[in-house]
Subunit: 134 residues, 2 copies
């Protein structure tokens, strides 16, 4: 069911410092910050030859990243995103196997403009998993 690893998302407390570090010290191809007010985040994509790193920083007063950074002030790996061909078929298979889908269970439009779902970390080895239909 799962296909490519679309991205690894890293929550960062200081976005400018993280950009400078990935572009400078680590010599990676770092994009421009993009505000995503609907998701409460500012995102920066780092293009690696085979996948992407997504830096996440809180935007606004109700960001889902604020609580994460409160618990992990240095930042940390927030989630990993696997691609799927058919997100409704994926959801139905997951629910049939007893896994929990976060929120209402209906896909939302993610930061890339494509349908996404998040799976409960307690059902997946402590990892927050995003599924994105591509």
């Amino acid at each position: 069911m799962i296909g490519r690893l679309n991205h690894v998302a890293i929550a960062v407390p200081d976005l400018d410092a993280a950009i400078a570090q990935y572009a400078g010290t680590l010599g990676a191809n770092v994009g421009a910050p993009q505000d995503e007010p609907d998701h409460g985040v500012t995102v920066v994509f780092i293009e690696l030859p085979n996948t992407k790193i997504e830096l996440l920083h809180p935007l606004g007063d109700n960001s889902p990243i604020t609580g994460y950074l409160d618990k992990n002030p240095a930042g940390g790996i927030h989630h990993i995103c696997y691609e799927v061909d058919d997100i409704m078929a994926a959801r139905d298979k997951l629910l049939a196997d007893g896994a929990r889908v976060l929120g209402t269970g209906a896909p939302k439009i993610g930061a890339h403009g494509k349908p996404v779902l998040f799976l409960h970390p307690k059902d997946f080895n402590g990892c927050l998993i995003e599924l994105e239909q591509v």
Copy 2:
């Protein structure tokens, strides 16, 4: 400097359950468990079309994964591994920029039989980063 994302490593408390979940529910291509006594881990590689997931489970009495699972009983994303062409040049650049390399600073031979280094999570947004020379 950094190239491909070689793998994302996930520490798991129940290796058989994680294998069954990735092979069954998530429908991925899961390899056979490999004991790595020199590293204190049993590893399972999950081959995605563009990169790998590495499941990590403690092996023996002094596993580096035991402490992580004590703190994170459900498991979690343990580290990410970026490929580099020249690990000594990478190390020298990192040290010159003030980043800390774990251990003696000399590369070790990793679970894939190639030279690796680990970087201090506090210097990299709370992420444990492995560099592997490929």
